[in-house]
């Protein structure tokens, strides 16, 4: 694949994916769907790391490890986020982002 | 140890010491002691300065010392004084010394009050001794901030409004200053904020045209330049006595001092070119302030507006851009500082007895409070320029210097400014007539306590200052004259 698909084209895919994530993050109201969008963005970034690693610095594994760590952190993030959502739901019976304004004022 | 560092250290330590005591008695004893030490060392400084000059030391600034502070930006804690700074330090010492005595009877949060007051004074001292623009500005801000607290907490009347207005307007001025200072710093591009170093740079005229107004207005705001003077009446009328004294007496002088030592000194060509604009503004402010005073009825408003007029004269003298008038301007700063401090002190003392500051509701105080009344008359006479008191020396030096200008425009402006002396006489005599003379207004006036010892200390020290300058002005005038050389010669040469 590395030989047959140029870097520019694979980057188009990750860019699209990233901005789809952005779109979702900005339009969705449900916190869980926003989390889904964040995961998409993270995923796109991960792909970028891997691509740059493979295409531009073959034989080095920095991108690989970065992605690995990002996946780990994403897992941690998702765990904490979902814990917060559930707690939130328990308290205000909603996980709508616009309803979360307890700390305002 | 360098005397100038002591000038900053002593008030700081005093403020620190006050923090550790609790009773009012202890607080004011410490404050009075600290400020007395300060006064004494200012006298020593004056003496040493004159001694140095006499022994032929003609350096631009004396007692210099430099501490590296923030090397990557070229910020140093540079200190050093010339004759003007020495005179201003002397003034500050007298005013803060008397200010402590004038606030002898502050009962509410006295500890915090004295700390703020002395921190304010520290800022003023720092401003006068520093040679580094950045440090200077830092101390300038240090002087302005406590003012907000002092007026907002211990003031009277619409104090929050006044405090906010005053602080915001001064901060607005500071904002212009920052831009101006940074402009100068980056144009010079020699990685230093030192004024003396910067003054040796030749700044391009296009750049000067931009930054001179910024610096001049920035300092002009605190020097009550028309039309940026309106913080003055509100601020002064709400401020507690000592704060009014310090503010009108010293803080407003930072404006004139800064205009001279920063704006005009560093950017002489633009000063030459643009002085006429500000000259018009200051001429207005001289006459306008005086005329607006005539109809005021609140004693503090009267003094505030007359300060506008007198401080207008300071800037007016500076803008004439010659040695004599600038000399007069500096003299006027000192003279007005003493005078207005005396007025505010007396107003505070009278207010503590009559509980009103409206002159139409008072009268005949001369009979019941002879000491304070005589002091008031002396202050008034100094204000209207009686020979033998400081006001005359200062005003005449300004007028004579200004009138020596070759340009007819400047001479006409001078005549306009001169005519304020009549208006001044009118409002001073109006106040003296309504307030002190005439029949005693009310029976209860007879129960007023006579002047107390600390009130006498405060007023007498100020009057001594006024008299010394008024009777023997030559030494002071010469001292200032020598220091004006580097500043004004630069203007003439180019």
């Amino acid at each position: 694949m590395i030989e047959s698909v140029p870097l520019n084209q694979v980057l188009i895919v990750t860019t699209l994916m990233f901005f789809i994530g952005v779109y979702g993050f900005l339009t969705r109201k449900n916190l869980i769907t926003m989390l889904i969008s964040v995961e998409l963005m993270l995923n796109a970034v991960n792909l970028n790391f891997v691509f740059f690693d493979r295409y531009l610095f073959p034989g080095k594994l920095e991108g690989h490890f970065f992605s690995l760590f990002i996946i780990a952190i994403a897992a941690a993030e998702a765990a904490v986020a979902i814990a917060i959502f559930i707690n939130l739901y328990r308290n205000i019976r909603s996980i709508n982002v616009e309803d979360v304004n307890e700390m305002k004022n | 140890m360098n005397l100038l560092i002591l000038h900053i250290a002593v008030p700081s330590l005093t403020a620190l010491a006050i923090m550790f005591v609790s009773s009012q008695r202890q607080v004011r004893t410490i404050a009075a002691t600290g400020m007395s030490i300060q006064l004494i060392q200012s006298l020593v400084l004056l003496y040493q300065f004159l001694q140095e000059r006499m022994s032929g030391n003609n350096a631009e600034v004396l007692f210099t010392q430099s501490f590296v502070w923030y090397p990557s930006l070229g910020i140093n804690f540079d200190i050093g004084v010339d004759g003007i700074a020495v005179a201003m330090i002397m003034l500050t010492s007298i005013v803060i010394f008397t200010g402590v005595f004038a606030s002898w009877e502050v009962n509410n949060l006295y500890k915090e009050f004295f700390i703020s007051l002395i921190v304010l004074a520290t800022g003023v001292y720092g401003f006068f001794v520093s040679l580094d623009l950045f440090v200077m500005f830092l101390f300038f801000e240090l002087a302005v901030i406590p003012m907000y607290l002092l007026i907002g907490i211990w003031g009277s009347g619409p104090k929050e409004y006044a405090a906010m207005k005053l602080t915001l307007m001064l901060m607005g001025g500071s904002a212009l200053l920052v831009v101006g200072i940074l402009g100068v710093y980056f144009t010079a591009n020699i990685e230093t904020f030192n004024i003396i170093e910067l003054s040796k740079q030749a700044f391009p005229i296009e750049m000067q045209r931009i930054f001179f107004p910024l610096l001049f207005i920035g300092f002009g705001v605190i020097g009550a330049l028309f039309p940026f003077h309106t913080w003055s009446p509100d601020g002064h009328s709400s401020a507690p006595t000592a704060v009014s004294m310090l503010h009108a007496g010293v803080l407003m002088k930072l404006g004139g001092y800064g205009c001279l030592k920063v704006a005009i000194f560093l950017l002489p060509e633009a000063a030459n070119e643009m002085s006429w604009i500000f000259l018009i503004l200051t001429s207005i402010s001289v006459l306008y302030g005086a005329l607006a005073t005539i109809v005021q009825t609140d004693l503090k408003y009267i003094n505030a507006y007359s300060s506008v007029s007198h401080c207008g004269l300071v800037l007016f003298g500076l803008l004439m851009l010659n040695k004599t008038a600038s000399n007069g301007a500096v003299l006027q700063m000192i003279s007005h500082g003493l005078m207005t401090a005396l007025f505010f002190a007396l107003i505070g003392m009278l207010y503590s007895r009559t509980h009103t500051r409206i002159i139409t509701q008072m009268g005949g105080l001369m009979k019941v409070l002879p000491f304070l009344s005589v002091c008031y008359v002396i202050g008034g006479l100094a204000s209207l320029g009686l020979p033998g008191l400081s006001g005359f020396v200062a005003e005449m030096t300004i007028f004579v210097g200004a009138f020596q200008h070759n340009d007819i425009f400047h001479r006409v402006a001078t005549i306009i400014a001169v005519s304020s002396i009549v208006v001044t006489a009118v409002y001073i005599l109006r106040v003296v007539g309504m307030l002190l003379m005439g029949p005693v207004r009310s029976e209860e006036y007879n129960n007023f306590p006579k002047a107390k010892w600390f009130e006498k200390v405060a007023t007498v020290s100020l009057i001594i200052g006024i008299l010394v300058i008024g009777l023997a002005p030559l030494w002071l005038s010469t001292m200032i004259w020598d220091s004006l050389g580097p500043i004004v010669d630069k203007l003439v040469l180019k």
């Binding site: 993050f25 900005l26 982002v97 304004n101 305002k104 | 207005k165 915001l168 307007m169 039309p227 940026f228 003077h229 309106t230 913080w231 009446p233 509100d234 306008y288 005329l291 607006a292 005539i294 109809v295 005021q296 507006y305 040695k323 004599t324 000399n327 001369m366 009979k367 002879p370 006479l381 209207l384 320029g385 009686l386 020979p387 033998g388 005359f392 005449m396 030096t397 007028f399 004579v400 210097g401 009138f403 020596q404 001078t414 005549i415 001169v418 002396i421 009549v422 006489a425 009118v426 005599l429 007539g433 002190l436 003379m437 005439g438 029949p439 005693v440 002005p473 030559l474 005038s477 010469t478």
Partner: protein, 631 residues
Amino acid sequence: MGYQYTIWILILPIVAFVINGLGSGKLPGKISGWIATVAIGISAFLSYKTAFQFFGSGSHEKIIAVKTTWLRFNEGLQIDMGILLDPISIMMLVVITTVSLMVFVYSQGYMKGEKGYDRYFAFLSLFSFSMLGLVVATNLFQTYMFWELVGVSSYLLIGFYYDKPAAVAASKKAFIVTRFADLGFLIGILIISFYTGTFDFDILTRPEAMTLPVTATFLGLSTMTWALLLVFMGGAGKSAMFPLHIWLPDAMEGPTPVSALIHAATMVVAGVYLVARLFPTYSVLAPDALEVVAFIGAFTTLFAAVIACTQFDIKRILAFSTMSQIGYMMLALGVSGYGGEEGLGYTASLFHLFTHAFFKALLFLGAGSIIHAVHTNDIREMGGLRKYQPITHILFLIACLAIAGIPPFAGFFSKDEILAAAFATHPIYYIIGTLVAGLTAFYMFRLYFIVFWGKSTSYTHTPHESPVIMTLPMMILGIGSVVAGLIPFGSYISSDGVPLKGHIDWVVATISVVLALVGILIAFKFYKTESAKPEAISKSFGAFYRSALSKFYFDELYIAITKGVIFRFVSKPLAWFDRNVIDAFMNLIAAITNWVSSQIKEFQSGQLQKYAFIFISGVIIILLSFLYANQ
């Protein structure tokens, strides 16, 4: 022998001022009066000594006895404090110290038991100091400084009874009017210093030494003329010349000895002295200005004399008479030329100043003695006092004869010289002068007859003669009023320093004496005994009489200008403008800031997605700008 000791003439009064001022309220009994009197006494002695030494030496050259730099303006201009001795300053020293001494002694009786006795003597000493400093000034600025000090002492003394609203108002008025005139003086000084580069009388009064380019003109007159006119404005203010005269009648609110010293003999002639001091300058550089001096002098002398005929307050009559006499002096200066016989007016003017000091001081002290006895100022409530106050009566009569110009009293000689000088140059001024001589005789004797003869009023307290401490100084002044005219004044004082042969112009003298006698006769007819004639005559003058009685409504005019125009139409709107326009503008800025911030507060909505939206937009914009910059 040097003249260094003259410094003590100045120092002693100021020392007396300081002692009395600091010790106010603490000094026991009458000690303050004695301190002041002794101090001025020694000053007087030293002045006489100076006069004898100076005039005895035969030379009339200027001598600078003491000089020290007080303040330096720049390389050229500086204020010196010094003592300049020349004929006129020494003459003034003698006049001032003499009259002061008399008034100080007199005051010890007059002010006995008054509250503020020591304050009174402190102020009087201050005044004497300032006045002495004024006359010995070596330069224009020193004159100005003492000029101001004199003004302030006058203010303090007029307002001596500070709990009397009328006194307070009068003192304020006096100070402000003279201050306004001083503004002119100061501007004049500034202009002069600008063109000549000096304040020194030494240079200013040597016209031959002056090579200044008087090319600049303003409204058709040279700037130097304007400068000297402005200086004269200062003099006119102090000397109560029309139209700056309005303060003098009110100044009579002060204690009577003060009026005698300040508002009759010394301070009010400072204007004359000033013009005389700068006379060479006026004469050579600005003859036009002298024309104005003469005109103002002539007008004032007539104007004041007319008003004096209608007044009823004894001190005000004397005040108007003072104005009228000073008008004479100004007139004489104005018509005088420089040097030789031409300079008769100059000599005459100062001669009149000299003699006037004696008889006018005497008149005021006499008036004080009368007021002391009857406790009123209104002459309609007096009458027949010759029985109760014989000494005062005689002395008052002497003074009246002197002022009326009856030979051989002092006023005759000086007035004759003035009229002669006027006759030689301007016939119109001569006619006015002679007319006023008659009027003077009339109103003075009107006063004299009403007070000392007239109807015998029933007094609540029987009037009594004043004590010796008051009558003694009056007697000394009385002697002065008789003999002062016999001094060969011209040989001491003349415009160019060359002695002037004094002689009496008999034609002029006869006419004026006859007119004076006519005036006295009319007064005798009208007022010797009560009669209805004056009433009828004043009725026949109608509106003119009424306006003269109200001093031609000048007070009202000034009040309209100051109160009405400046106070109401300038200051009030300005104060309003400051509060409601400039300050409101500042407040408006604050309000706008507030409004804007309340608007943009919405950005801080707490809505996560809005933040993210703006954040990402920002990132994109920054990216775009980088792209743009890299192209």
